[in-house]
């Protein structure tokens, strides 16, 4: 179903709130993976607030759609998503990364309610997603499995083992994303270890690939609609071109902000930057939405 302007604006508002909460969490924690957190946030916002069938009051509902954040270091953005939904107390975000907290930078599925897989070590999420999707088939369940990889993460060979198996088992009940922000800790992905031709690699591994702007709510919705309507026997991979640090202009597209800290001055500046970015996004939605 095409995205209405009203829905688009509501999702923009939610994405903005979650960006602010991610920034705040980073500020409270003293530092965090803010860059990759903000790049992937629109994907999580759209999934959790438009597409996924979940029950906040029944987190382990066996028919729920699954979400696996393979790039587990984006926990600093995932935790706000789950707290905002009500799976966990929002106050917990103030303890993020602190000694004794249930929330560390890579979320533990046995401690943080709503997390479907404990990730952190890279190159694990897609395999777990394949298992979740195969289990749906064995158990005769209709839930979907959504998995998000980082692009730097795709250096790990295990992803490609998982990719082969997703195509081999024709897992159309699994929808994959790569947060293609082109940055990793030590530099730009193409400088550290070339990924291109990236989409062609996924195609060669048996996926239908959609390449979109992953910080554009409408493009995300169109791609997910496409994937959900997929009637072929190939799984869909949505390669999301994103901006590391999306929404805070002075950290955007800068690999040095893979992990960073905000002092009071930078924090205030970041809040202003988020507001400005949000205003532009609302303007675009108003103009392009129907």
């Amino acid at each position: 179903m095409p995205l209405s302007k009203q829905e688009w604006l509501a999702l923009e508002k939610k994405a903005h709130e979650l960006r602010r909460l991610t920034l705040d969490t980073t500020y409270w924690a003293g530092s965090g993976h803010i860059g990759g957190g903000l790049s992937v946030l629109d994907i999580m916002t759209v999934l959790y607030h438009k597409y996924m069938h979940i029950r906040v009051d029944e987190p382990q509902w066996e028919d729920r759609d699954r979400f696996i954040l393979s790039k587990g270091h984006a926990g600093i953005a995932y935790a706000p998503v789950l707290c905002d939904l009500g799976f966990n107390d929002k106050e917990m975000l103030k303890t993020f990364n602190l000694s004794g907290s249930k929330m560390g930078m890579h979320l533990d599925s046995n401690k943080v309610v709503g997390v479907d897989a404990s990730t952190g070590s890279l190159g694990h999420g897609m395999s777990i997603a394949v298992g979740t999707a195969l289990a749906a088939r064995v158990l005769g369940k209709g839930y979907k499995t959504f998995v998000v990889l980082g692009d730097g993460e795709c250096d790990e060979g295990s992803n490609w083992e998982a990719a082969m198996s997703a195509a081999h088992y024709k897992l159309t009940n699994m929808i994959s994303f790569v947060d293609r922000n082109r940055c990793m800790i030590d530099g730009r992905t193409e400088d550290v270890m070339s990924l291109e031709p990236f989409c062609a690699k996924w195609e060669a591994f048996g996926f239908i690939v959609k390449e979109i702007d992953g910080n554009n709510i409408r493009e995300l919705c169109e791609a997910i609609d496409f994937a959900l309507a997929n009637e072929t026997d190939k799984p869909v991979m949505i390669v999301c071109n994103t901006l590391k640090g999306c929404g805070i202009d002075f950290i955007e597209d800068n690999y040095l902000w893979h992990y960073g800290a905000f002092d009071d001055e930078k924090y205030e500046k970041a809040i202003a930057a988020l507001e400005a970015s949000y205003a532009k996004r609302v303007e675009r939605a108003e103009k392009e939405g129907a």
Binding site: E62, R66, I68, D108, S109, N110, D116, A117, S118, T119, G120, S121, G123, H124, G125, M126, S127, I128, A129, V130, G131, T132, A133, L134, A135, A136, V138, L139, K141, T145, G157, S158, E161, A162, M164, S165, H168, Y169
Partner: protein, 336 residues
């Protein structure tokens, strides 16, 4: 014990240990629709072909991709299935170690690793296919129960115990035929409790896997030849280890020899030594196993002889320990 097992030593001589596992898995599959099986291109070698034939929709051969297999199993377990994963011990414990640790153990999922070709049982394949470090690796992974069955009968019991106990399991079994130690499956197998294969007061041999049979042979010989009464413990569960049986052995026999088809660093011997030291009671102690070297190529029985973990090697070690004069230690009686 589930399932009303009817296997006996006759099956054990006709079936390889892994074949008994394969049959146990089919039995579980029939009784429990949530049981699924996975392998990484080793369905034939790990003997789970029967399950594949009977339950093709619950059987997954992920190709030569152990890391993926472990992640897939974790996802399945999270969704309510009970996956049994089979590959060679070396690959289960090292190739996929990160997935074993993170996906299975950290998440504490209900998945069961049946690792075949353990120790030097795939002797001719050489060190790339020997698993001499898997007990050290798996023993240090939280939430994981680690079992090294002595023979086919015990493998059956271990597999059933794994199904009946929630959480991740690592069961290491041998390639090919094992000498049969137990006449049937009904000998009182209990998870985390050593089996006293024979009683004795002069020395205790604590062994696991195929070394238990060898230890029993050695004890039998030494009783006849040297008049020694040797206790033999089948320490099938490496973790959680039976501390009580170990401390009792210290107190009762004052001498312990451990025997394992594994590096002496980090395996059964280390696990037993930790308990002995923490008990605060001294005893003569010797670890038999692979002395921190890659093992030679050869038939399993030849490698065991070379390593001194066969009956002859154990006999020599017992005689050596019996000669030690620690009992002259004036403090000993105080300790006791």
């Amino acid at each position: 014990m589930a399932g009303g097992m009817t296997y006996t030593a006759i099956d054990s001589t006709a079936l390889q240990t892994a074949e008994i596992y394969g049959k146990a898995l089919v039995e579980l599959g029939r009784a429990h629709p949530e049981v699924v099986a996975l392998t990484a291109d080793l369905a034939k070698s790990t003997k789970i072909g029967d399950f594949m034939k009977e339950f093709p929709d619950r059987f997954f051969n992920v190709g030569i991709a152990e890391q993926n297999m472990f992640g897939v199993a974790a996802g399945m377990a999270r969704a309510g299935l009970v996956p049994f994963l089979s590959t060679f011990s070396q690959f289960a414990s090292l190739r996929a170690a990160d997935q074993l640790s993170t996906d299975l153990c950290y998440q504490n999922v209900n998945a069961k690793v049946i690792a075949t070709h353990s120790g030097t049982s795939f002797g001719q394949a050489g060190s790339t296919h020997h698993a001499i470090s898997d007990l050290a690796v798996t023993r240090s992974l939280p939430n994981l129960t680690v079992i090294c069955p002595a023979d086919g009968m015990e493998t059956y019991n271990a597999v059933m115990a794994a199904y009946n106990t929630p959480g991740p399991f690592y069961i290491r079994i041998n390639r090919g035929f094992d000498n049969t130690l137990y006449k049937g499956t009904d000998y009182g197998f209990e998870l985390g409790k050593a089996v006293t294969v024979r009683e004795g007061t002069d020395l205790t041999i604590i062994a696991c896997g195929s070394c238990v049979f060898q230890a029993n042979q050695a004890a039998d010989f030494l009783e006849k030849a040297d008049g020694l009464k040797i206790r033999v413990l089948d320490m099938h569960t490496i973790k959680p280890i039976d501390r009580e049986a170990i401390v009792k052995a210290v107190m009762d026999t004052r001498r312990i020899i451990t025997v394992e088809d594994h590096n002496v660093l980090g395996g059964l011997g280390s696990a037993v030594a930790e308990v002995v030291v923490e008990s605060g009671k001294g005893c003569a102690f010797k670890k038999l196993g692979i002395q921190d070297a890659f093992a030679p190529i050869g038939l399993h029985e030849d490698i065991m002889a070379y390593l001194g973990i066969d009956a002859n090697g154990i006999i020599n070690a017992v005689r050596e320990v019996m000669k030690a004069d620690f009992e002259q230690d004036d403090d000993w009686d105080d300790e006791m």
